[in-house]
């Protein structure tokens, strides 16, 4: 069962999770998404919650629904890139906010990021 954070609705967390799967290529452009029931069982959540998340994803255009054959990831690669950019920016903003909490300056943050990035490059 997937663990969800306590401070916001579960359906918004499912939207995030599906977005991450789309931008990281777990779900490829134009590919078929799992059914509501299958995703609900996989994540251990109520099917109505998954339904609500899918509606949100359809509104943003990232997912399209075909009446008889199910839901598909958009074929618009640009849109996927935009969503990826948005998610990366959010993650970075959170990180920077955290570092500011420790009283870090901009150069300090950049130096640390470069240092860690080089380290992971060396190991991978």
């Amino acid at each position: 069962m997937t663990k969800f954070s306590a401070d916001r609705p579960i359906y918004t967390q499912i939207i995030d999770l599906v977005q991450v799967r789309i931008v990281t290529g777990v779900y490829l452009p134009e590919s078929k998404l799992p059914s509501v029931r299958d995703l609900a069982v996989e994540l251990g959540v109520n099917p109505n919650t998954v339904q609500r998340a899918f509606s949100g994803l359809e509104q943003s255009g990232l997912v399209r629904c075909e009446l008889t054959s199910g839901r598909f990831v958009t074929d618009c690669v640009q849109l996927i890139k935009d969503v990826r950019q948005k998610l990366l920016k959010e993650q970075t903003e959170d990180y920077v906010k955290n570092m500011r909490h420790y009283g870090c300056s901009s150069t300090e943050i950049c130096d640390l990021v470069c240092l860690c990035a080089e380290q992971t490059e060396a190991t991978s």
Binding site: M1, T2, F4, A6, D7, R8, P9, I10, Y11, R37, A40, V41, L43, G44, V45, N46, P47, N48, T49, R52
Partner: protein, 233 residues
């Protein structure tokens, strides 16, 4: 038509004692998984037993599909009691046969395949099973019916966390959109993500009926945290 309606439901077990249910009003729709939550002695089991026709209310009434509890309502309600009521000398396979004879909506194949998935040998005598395995068998029996209303009284209390996840998955896979499931439990954090809606019961009354997502977006807190706040001792 509303699946379940309770109107000013009151139950007093003994004259002069505090009522277990105190003028409770409740409407339940189809197609939902509902958590029935409340501290010990708030009336959860009493409510479930009245809906099932096992107890008679002192005042008020309960309607299932617009009718009072009776033979018809029992055909459409699958009930998991808080205690075992099965004949414990029977083997699991015999109990499955018994249910198959008894309930027209029982799916024997579904029951057997769930038992297999849970790695439970159906040749075992019920009495010889551990507490957790007994609970699993009873849940399998209940979820193998194609009912309109499932009433599960503490379905995950006695099983380990891994089996808990399996049981919640079993509930998710087996319910249909026309049915509703009511789960009474203290283990809110474990069931929260599978619920549509929660009902808070306190001193025999409904104090809150709300969707899980509404609680989370209004309060910025999980149902579990909200419960701890509302019922803090």
């Amino acid at each position: 038509m509303t699946l379940l309606q309770c109107k000013e439901l009151t139950k007093t077990y003994e004259k002069g004692s505090a009522p277990a249910l105190n003028g409770l009003d409740l409407d339940l729709e189809r197609g939902k998984i509902i958590g029935l939550l409340g501290p010990n002695g708030s009336g959860k089991t009493t409510l479930i037993k009245i809906i099932n026709g096992l107890l008679v209310p002192t005042a008020g009434k309960v309607l299932i599909n617009g009718r009072l509890p009776g033979i018809e309502s029992k055909k459409s309600i699958a009930y998991l009691p808080d205690k075992s009521y099965l004949a414990d000398w029977m083997r699991i396979a015999q109990i499955v046969d018994f249910f198959d004879d008894f309930y027209a909506d029982f799916d024997q194949q579904r029951a057997l395949s769930m038992l297999e998935l849970l790695d439970i040998d159906s040749r075992q005598v019920f009495r010889s099973l551990s507490k957790g395995t007994k609970e699993k068998v009873q849940l399998v029996l209940v979820m193998s019916r194609t009912a309109q209303l499932y009433l599960l009284d503490e379905p995950i209390g006695g099983v380990d966390p891994a089996a808990r996840d399996f049981i919640l998955r079993t509930i998710l896979t087996n319910y249909s959109e026309e049915a509703s499931i009511v789960i009474s439990t203290h283990l809110i954090a474990d069931v929260e993500s599978i619920l549509d809606e929660v009902i808070f019961l306190d001193k025999g009354k409904v104090t809150l009926q709300s969707s899980v997502d509404a609680i989370r977006s209004d309060k910025g807190k999980s149902v579990d945290e909200t419960f701890r706040e509302v019922f803090a001792c």
